[in-house]
């Protein structure tokens, strides 16, 4: 694991030196603070709208940070040919993939933590409530979701020709999975065979990213979900991460190193 941790630490260093995160964070913070400073008709429920908006911005920011980071990892190594001196060391291809994944996941985890700390302070100071269990569940499930996204985008980086096309296709797919996947079973019921069975199969194969979206818990002050359900969702997410990384390795082990 030493090699994997070295590579992941390198990814974290690269990402914090690129400064993408700071720009996105400052923009999110500024927009949220500006919205938070406005009072509409002394409406006390404004805080809820503000939280919803802030969380939406956090989700969008982290989606772009994670897709952007993951999409360029392997292509950049191959294009800039830094992969040659690296793989000339005792480093296997799966260690490279896993190290790159972990680096992106930790980086987005740090970004997520910063965003949520900012969010908790902002909403706590306005509502004077601190439902920490709900925040913890929302943040951890969000982090697992980012893991699935990063693994999926890394797989895409070996399938699609350019990082930009991979990033675009990935974002469209992720948004589609988030908002449409949950309805596939209902659509299947309305279709004739064999289309119905095919859509049903697709419903069970694709990752259901909506399982990881528990923003409503903290926006509408709902009770935290049972911890067993939270654990099942985490295991479900990690299983998809493993599948995507496995597929990435299967393609990458036969791939030519230069582009």
């Amino acid at each position: 694991m030493n090699v994997v941790f070295c590579i992941s630490a390198l990814v974290v260093k690269e990402l914090y030196r690129r400064k993408d995160f700071y720009v996105v964070f400052v923009l999110t913070a500024l927009i949220t603070l500006m919205m938070g400073s406005i009072s509409f008709f002394n409406d006390s429920s404004m805080a809820r709208y503000l939280k919803e908006l802030c969380l939406f911005l956090v989700w969008v920011s982290l989606l772009f940070i994670s897709v952007g980071a993951a999409a360029r990892q392997l292509p950049a190594e191959r294009e800039q040919r830094t992969i040659f001196p690296l793989l000339a060391k005792p480093v296997s291809r799966w260690q490279l993939i896993f190290g790159k994944f972990l680096g992106c996941w930790w980086s987005t985890g740090l970004a997520l933590m910063s965003f949520y700390v900012f969010f908790v302070i902002l909403s706590g100071t306005r509502e004077h409530e601190w439902p920490l269990a709900s925040y913890l569940q929302a943040a951890t499930l969000h982090w697992v979701l980012l893991g699935i996204i990063i693994a999926m985008v890394m797989l895409g980086s070996l399938v699609f020709a350019a990082p930009s096309s991979n990033a675009t296709i990935s974002v469209v797919s992720i948004v589609g999975l988030m908002f449409l996947a949950r309805y596939l079973n209902k659509i299947a019921l309305q279709q004739p065979e064999p289309l119905s069975s095919l859509i049903y199969a697709l419903y069970f194969i694709i990752p259901h990213l909506e399982f990881f979206d528990v923003r409503d818990l903290i926006i509408h002050h709902r009770a935290a979900i049972p911890w067993w359900a939270w654990s099942v969702a985490v295991v479900y997410g990690l299983a998809y991460v493993a599948m995507f990384l496995g597929a990435t390795w299967l393609i990458f082990r036969k791939k030519r190193l230069s582009t």
Partner: protein, 251 residues
């Protein structure tokens, strides 16, 4: 004594771009063994199969046929690369790191303990005369400086085998002399060096043995003095003869 590098009937093929394009044979039945402490010059014109051979040796490309071993281990195993240092022809390093950070990263990959690694970083930076620029980012370095960082990273694990791909390409005369000095020094320390080069004078100066590749085959191999005596020609003319330029030589 077990050879440090061993190729047995090595064959490397690249598939054509489409079904109508023929398969390209880059290396065809290479048999070669490099003994510990040898400095071996791997020569050949562009497209001769030198880089493909090196790519197999470093695990970048799987052999189509035959076998390649490093320190007795199959080259597909990462452990076979634990005791080697590799200097690529061009400088391919992380531009967002400083020389010191790059060496620390590679040193940690080799599992070198921190205290030993810091001493080693100091030593190799001193050897390549890069102490003053050690904290500057690599993206600010000149090509010569990047090449010297490349040499430093190749030496960070105190390797028993150094694989150098065109080590002096792009260097000024002082830089070339420095690289030659380092190779000589490693030779005196009993290290094995396997390097490809187009600089025949340089090869003649530092190598114990040379091999000349052409069209994927090893045309000739032996000690420089023996080859010169056997062919009655200097190394440059032997090289030209082996790649089929004897007519132009006679003219």
């Amino acid at each position: 004594m077990e050879p440090i590098i061993e190729f047995q009937n090595l064959r490397v093929e690249y598939p054509g771009a489409d079904r109508r394009t023929a398969v390209k044979v880059a290396v065809d039945g290479l048999n070669l063994a490099i003994q510990p402490g040898e400095v071996f010059g791997f020569l050949g014109p562009n497209g001769a199969g030198k880089t493909s051979t090196m790519n197999v040796l470093l695990g970048f490309v799987p052999p189509t046929g035959g076998m390649a071993r490093l320190f007795g281990n199959d080259v597909s195993l990462p452990i076979s690369r634990q005791r080697i240092g590799y200097l690529p022809e061009m400088t391919y390093y992380y531009k967002f790191l400083s020389a010191e950070e790059l060496l620390r990263f590679y040193g940690k990959i080799f599992g070198i303990p921190s205290a030993v690694l810091e001493k080693r970083i100091d030593d190799v930076l001193k050897l390549v005369e890069m102490q003053d620029a050690r904290k500057k980012l690599i993206k600010t370095y000149s090509k010569g400086m990047q090449q010297r960082v490349g040499l430093a990273q190749a030496l960070i694990n105190n390797p028993d085998l150094l694989i150098l791909d065109e080590p002096t390409s792009g260097l000024d005369p002082v830089g070339r002399m420095k690289v030659r000095e380092i190779i000589q020094r490693l030779k005196h320390e009993g290290k094995t060096v396997f390097f490809s080069s187009h600089e025949l004078g340089e090869v003649e100066t530092v190598c114990d043995r040379v091999g000349i590749m052409h069209q994927g085959k090893l045309r000739v191999e032996g000690k420089v003095a023996d080859l010169v005596q056997e062919h009655g020609l200097n190394l440059e003319h032997i090289f030209l003869k082996m790649i089929g330029y004897q007519h132009s030589l006679a003219a």
